[in-house]
């Protein structure tokens, strides 16, 4: 497999990993193998969906964010928070309390990501009108989905809507507003509070954009703990803080399932959870489903409310945000004089910059660049498959017999890694017992292959 230069927020901590293979078995792109008792990531296959992070029993998979004290490198420190962050807190804790604690923690400004929706919603409908010949158009909102399409559905990259997500629009607005206030660029730090790993990867290694306005990223679970603790300790009910304008109902629910689809014209469908998305994209790719205009696809169940870095139950988060949206009345929300202006005041500026570059396919499925070579490798895979037991037990350190066969054809694994093959080779005298134990150790490490002491007393 070719070495990739892709930034991943997901990292496996070798010192903590116990090589239990849970992550390997749930990875939707088969990006993980077990070697020497530790999980190993194929960087070019990973789409940062975070499924591995969810199942790791020892928290050995981490999402690499910036050190919190990094914010103090900047004189002006903006927390760019998504609406689902507010949704993490119980209903009796107000937006004001949350924001005032965040200011206590060191931020100088707080701005909600979904403000960018006011610009984006209009642009999406313009885009779908101009590009109505492309069916379906696919939202660029979820970075894990954009990457999934790049690696697994390369024929569909041109279906992805080439518009920035709300995050980038809001960041561009903040930067412009603060520069206009006479603040030097180097004194502005914009910190995004992320509900998932994919957003971090999208910021550190953007697809279709040359750079990002976002200075750093803070994991949502980390900030939630910090803020919730302070709210509990201080119990300050009354606190006057300059709030930015409240999000509209549409903006509040944008990151939830059906948040986008219900505001786009034509036949629209919203699909969440990565396996559901994969199943649907297979059908789209075969043109079994043809007359859908717009697809909202999200990697997490219940979309961002189910992000891997959220703490609250995703269904409760959705309920809270929907309640907030229902209660919103524009006329009841006067803008505080110290708050940022409405984002619509820079509509033209932002819309002129909203388009992203074409998204390039980078297929992980091809066995070789050269078709003749790929055919040779495929024939080899097919020959190997005839020998494998097809039980997908994972003892070989690969997630399936098919994955092992491909690894062997690519020269990255040996057929004796298969436990069934080992037994037969031992029986035929083609492999010594010592060699077979050695192979097991090379996959699962010394610990797991050295547990046997005395089974008589069991």
């Amino acid at each position: 497999m070719e070495a990739g230069n892709f930034h991943h927020a997901l990292k496996i901590r070798e010192d903590l990993c116990i090589g239990c293979s849970h992550c390997m078995n749930v990875c939707p792109t088969e990006a993980i193998r077990v070697k020497n008792g530790k999980s190993v990531l194929f960087a070019d296959r990973c789409v940062d969906c975070g499924e591995c992070f969810r199942v790791c029993p020892v928290s050995a998979i981490i999402i690499d964010h910036d050190d919190f004290n990094y914010i103090f490198d900047y004189k002006y420190r903006v927390a760019l928070v998504p609406a689902v962050f507010t949704g993490q807190f119980p209903e009796d804790i107000s937006l004001r309390q949350i924001h005032s604690v965040m200011l206590d923690l060191g931020f100088t400004h707080i701005y909600e990501v979904e403000n960018g929706v006011e610009i984006l919603a209009e642009s999406i409908n313009e885009y779908t009108t101009v590009h109505r010949d492309i069916k379906p158009l696919i939202s660029s909102f979820c970075p894990a989905i954009v990457r999934l399409i790049q690696v697994k559905f390369p024929a569909l990259v041109d279906n992805i809507i080439r518009l920035q997500p709300p995050l980038d629009i809001s960041a561009a607005f903040l930067k412009k507003e603060m520069l206009a206030q006479g603040i030097p660029s180097e004194e502005i730090g914009i910190f995004y509070v992320t509900p998932c790993a994919a957003k971090i990867a999208a910021i550190k290694d953007p697809v279709g954009e040359s750079s990002s306005h976002i200075t750093g990223v803070i994991n949502m679970d980390f900030l939630f703990n910090k803020v919730f603790r302070q709210v509990k300790q201080k119990n300050n009910q009354s606190c006057a803080v300059p709030l930015s304008g409240k999000l509209s109902g549409k903006a509040t629910c944008w990151a939830l399932t059906n948040g986008e689809a219900r505001h786009v014209q034509g036949r629209c469908l919203a699909i969440d959870e990565i396996h559901n998305v994969i199943e649907f994209l297979e059908r789209i790719e075969n043109e079994e489903i043809t007359d859908i205009d717009f697809l909202e696809l999200r990697a997490c169940d219940e979309s961002c409310a189910g992000g891997v870095l959220t703490t609250s139950n995703r269904f409760l988060t959705v309920e809270r945000l929907r309640n907030h949206a229902d209660l919103y009345r524009e006329e009841n929300e006067p803008l505080h004089p110290d708050a940022f202006r409405k984002i619509s005041s820079e509509k033209e500026y932002l819309k002129n910059r909203i388009t992203i570059d074409p998204i390039k396919p980078r297929s992980i499925l091809k066995l070789d660049e050269n078709m003749a070579e790929a055919m040779k490798k495929m024939e080899k895979v097919n020959r190997i498959m005839l020998l494998l037991p097809m039980v997908d037990c994972g003892i070989c350190g690969a997630p399936s017999c098919q994955a092992l066969a491909q690894d062997i054809a690519q020269g990255e694994a040996g057929i004796q890694q298969c436990i069934f093959i080992q037994k037969i080779m031992e029986q035929k005298g083609e492999m010594s017992l010592e060699d077979s134990v050695e192979v097991m150790r090379s996959i699962w490490g010394f610990g797991k292959t050295n547990k046997y002491r005395d089974i008589k007393g069991i």
Binding site: R283, E285, N286, E287, E288, L365, L367, N370
Partner: protein
């Protein structure tokens, strides 16, 4: 040159498209250009669904080399009495049940023609139909 074979059951819409999905996977692994894959798979899907919708059973034979992809679908079924008529867009003999499932819009054969570089159809009434089409690579 690589050869693949698939069997198709008539009337089983649960499995309609399974062979096409397999072919798509193979072509992706062989690093065939995505646009070519799309054409081949769309043509193959139409032809595969035709067998499911109209015939009793059928077999699909696929030959792939670096120059072209050749697909032959041989079915046992009612056959097509007038191939020229069946090639017209919108013409369909599919039953209302089949149409309710979203198939049988009469786009099948024309769609195969549009998505292939060579197409020959031979048919014998009450015996079956053979659809053979090819798509060239790197052209």
């Amino acid at each position: 040159m690589m050869h693949f074979e698939f069997h198709v059951e008539g009337g089983n819409f649960l499995k309609a498209g399974a062979a096409s999905s397999q072919l798509k996977k193979i072509l992706k692994q062989l690093n065939v250009d995505p646009k070519t894959i799309k054409r081949v798979v769309v043509a193959m899907y139409e032809a595969e669904v035709n067998i499911v919708a109209h015939a009793y059973k059928g077999d699909i034979y696929i030959d792939i080399d670096t120059k072209k992809i050749e697909i032959t679908l041989i079915d046992e079924g009612p056959g097509i009495p007038d191939i020229d008529l069946a090639m017209k867009q919108g013409f369909s003999t599919a039953s209302s049940v089949v149409r309710e499932m979203g198939f049988g819009a009469g786009m099948g054969l024309p769609n195969i023609k549009n998505n292939s570089d060579e197409l020959t159809i031979t048919s014998e009434v009450n015996k079956g139909t053979t659809v053979k089409f090819a798509t060239y690579l790197n052209q």
